[in-house]
Amino acid sequence: MTQSDWEALIQKHIDGRTDATEAAALSALLEANAEVRLLYLQLARIHATLATDFAEEPRPAIEPKQQLDRTGDTPRKRRVWIGLSAVACVLVISVDVVLTRSRPVAPVARLTAVSGPVQWIGDGGKVESDSLVGREVGAGSLESLSVDSWAVLEYPDGTTVTVTGRTVLALVCGSQKEMRLGHGRVSVTAARQPGGQPLLIHTPTALLEVLGTQLNVDSDSSATRVSVNEGLVRVTRLVDGTATDVPADHQATATVDRLAELKAVRRSQPVSVWRTQFPAGVNYGDWRVSATGAGGVRAKPLLLTCAKPHPLLIHVSSAAVAGKGGSPLVLSRDGEFVIRGRLGSTAEVYFGMTLNHPKGGFAGKYIARRTMKVTAVGEPFEWTVPCAELAPTEPVFPPTPVGFEIVECWCLTLHTDHGLAVESMELRSDR
């Protein structure tokens, strides 16, 4: 193998494109050859530095002539180009980490409600988590860190953006409202936007253009799910530039799969029964299968350094919720949840959920807790939670979750790892 073969193999691995055979070949080379190790480290360090230090800086202003060819005739290309050239202070913000910035930025919105561990990373990379309510924010990153945390941003025109659960949302400072949803869930109620200046939401897989509407967006690295309750949203899939308009009472999913159809479909009738279909739908936690063949979502640790009054360690398993065929799941009065799982030791277990208004935005978070006693490591438990036991996490939420749409459920334990593994969550109802 020549040096250039080594370089090619190392680079392929850095990009996550090696198969098992190639990874084994590279490992053998690294184990045997100190020169290859040093070359690997030098190349990997460039990759890591670009992904950490440089990713935290604002994108430098680029003259139009220096841009890649964005004058092609697809609507997406044109819009991105117009947006970039029109924006006076394009600060593209890393959605993942603590940033370092030097320029002060003008406020664009105000945080009007915050609950749970939430932090704002703004000017100069300063991380703020205290007294956020009422804080004016400019370009920066709003991070809701826990399954039970949430925050509301309000723009001067009355547009509100609610982030819930584990979500990272970066605000871009510009002539129109623009944000980047790194991952997680937002609920947007947009006032009518000026002509030609739609509210833009970038996600890893889609660009959403919103004129005036109510919509809910749920995004991760491979898919963006958009549910529109009022108005009209244009969804452009990034993988191939395909676009579709999603009207009220419809939903669409933009994935990285260009063969999948991007189509607005009418939202199905709500259902009132549901059961997890793990490993599908895991939002947080590790799906593991035991020697006996039983599968469960092992709770993963989450260290909430900005929790009050002290940093808090929790272990969480969470799941996205949707009824059969993507139908909304609505909690009925006689509804009861059944959670089955295993614990390594006796623990206080919390079961919680995030709710939306029927055909609307964020409605609240509800929680129940119970001390689950086990006498042996890995002992199974079954916990039935009638909806009457679910209490709002904040007094501003409606007293009962009945009648609302459930979008996420989770189980967690506090402080130490109690070995929580959730095998299933189920909503039963006689209706």
Partner: protein, 173 residues
Amino acid sequence: MGNEDAQERFTRLLIQHEPAILRHVMVAVPNRADARDVLQECSVALWRNFAGYDPERPFLNWALGFVRVEVRRFLRTAQRRAQLTERAAELLLETASQYQGQLDAREQHLRPCLDSLPPDHRDLIDGYYRDSESVAALATRTGRTVDAVYKLLQRIRLALHRCVESKLRGAGS
């Protein structure tokens, strides 16, 4: 040191050193999402063991011991993509510690090399690393195939590597 002081101190140290810890994780686990998972596990381990941290010692050096453990644990269980063997990763982390000074020195030259990239290459690097655009999105935006984008990213990183080498030689002469 009161418990509250310890928590504040830990948070400050973690925030201060997080980028350096992440860079070390990415040596053995180059995928950014995977590396962040490992970083999260490291943070938990560091917090659990913070009572044993000697403030006279550099925090980063102390933290790197936990990086090795968590990287090993990750490589044992990761199934999302092909990974290096534990032995190869261990050797890489050892070599990284051995050459830490040299690797840090190389980083000083990376900025001017990055600034000297042709605009379209710089734009691709910004899109991929700073804006976290997926390769599929970059391919659409730039009218290339996904393979071509990967190849171009590799060529650019190699050009940066060569540029750093050349600047180091210049600085040494």
